[in-house]
């Protein structure tokens, strides 16, 4: 394995590992918000189905909840670009 790695151009290995790191950062950051947005929207739909007359208010609050939850995934997205090679 080491013999194989030693044959590579050192910059190439670093670039590859950086790409893997970026993937892990964004993938990891997307797990929690993915579940969170599912919960927010699912409960909002339940609320709207139970009380259609409150749909407007629920929708506004739902978008707020989505925005707050989604921010975490977007931090991960931005961080994955910030990671330098």
């Amino acid at each position: 394995m080491l013999h194989f790695l030693a044959q590579q151009d050192p910059g190439e290995l670093e670039a590859g590992l950086t790409a893997v790191g970026r993937g892990i950062v964004y993938g990891g950051a997307a797990i929690g918000p993915g579940i969170g947005i599912g919960i927010v929207v699912g409960n909002a739909i339940t609320a709207m189905a139970r009380q259609p007359e409150a749909a407007g208010m629920v929708r506004t609050t739902m978008f707020l909840g989505i925005a707050f939850t989604e921010a975490l995934a977007l931090f991960g997205f931005v961080l994955s670009f910030i990671i330098a090679g």
Binding site: G56, T60, F63, L64, I66, A67, L74, F77, V78
Partner: protein, 252 residues
Amino acid sequence: MIFGLEFPPISHVVEWPTLFGSGPFAVNKVVLLMWLSAAASFGIIYLGGRKQQLVPTGVQNVAESTVDFIENGIVMETMGSDGLKFMPFLLTLFMFVLTCNIWEIVPVAQMPVNARIALPAFMAIVVWFIYHVTGIVSQGPIKYFKSATIPPGVPKAILPLVFAIELLGILITRPLSLAVRLFANMLAGHLLLVTFAVLCQALFTSTYVGAVLPFALLVFLTAFEILVAFLQAYIFTILAAVYIGGAMHPEH
């Protein structure tokens, strides 16, 4: 290089050469688009309000439905009737963010102004100043910071922790997340469109028929980005309204 597909590096996708000017006053395509969207958002509201007809047509229709949407959909839902004095600010914010975002799908332009962090960061700082000043003016400085950082009904034992988190929240996290949310959404949308456009082009030059499916997806994603542009403008405005409203009225 992925499967022989040459994807442009990220800096080539969002950075544009200077057209004229130099140093901090250099003007490139993004700045030009920003000026255009400022002019467009002013123009729509000005033309819509100049000759008011009883039955609105054309531009007046657009302007009136936007004003109505901001007033009933955002201000009344989040701040109540005494938030109406922030109506002009929020309307300007919404129109400007929306017109800046919509350049993403306009042919030839194809570049959302908010995919560069400068503009979202500046707008977030403006919102940050406005909600702090509003809170200080309407509640007084000590009462405002007390009501903003110490939520009612928190047990004494964890109060220092809650205080630290809330203080960090109103000073740093709120403007940071406001700016990054808009910026990252627009950048992600732009990259998505670029990826599929590159894929279409590569498949078209190599196989012709292979480009049909990616092209259909590209059209679908363009429609989806219109939705995202609206949604992000809406979310930016409603969060600004929520922050200002929260600074005006202390939490119960």
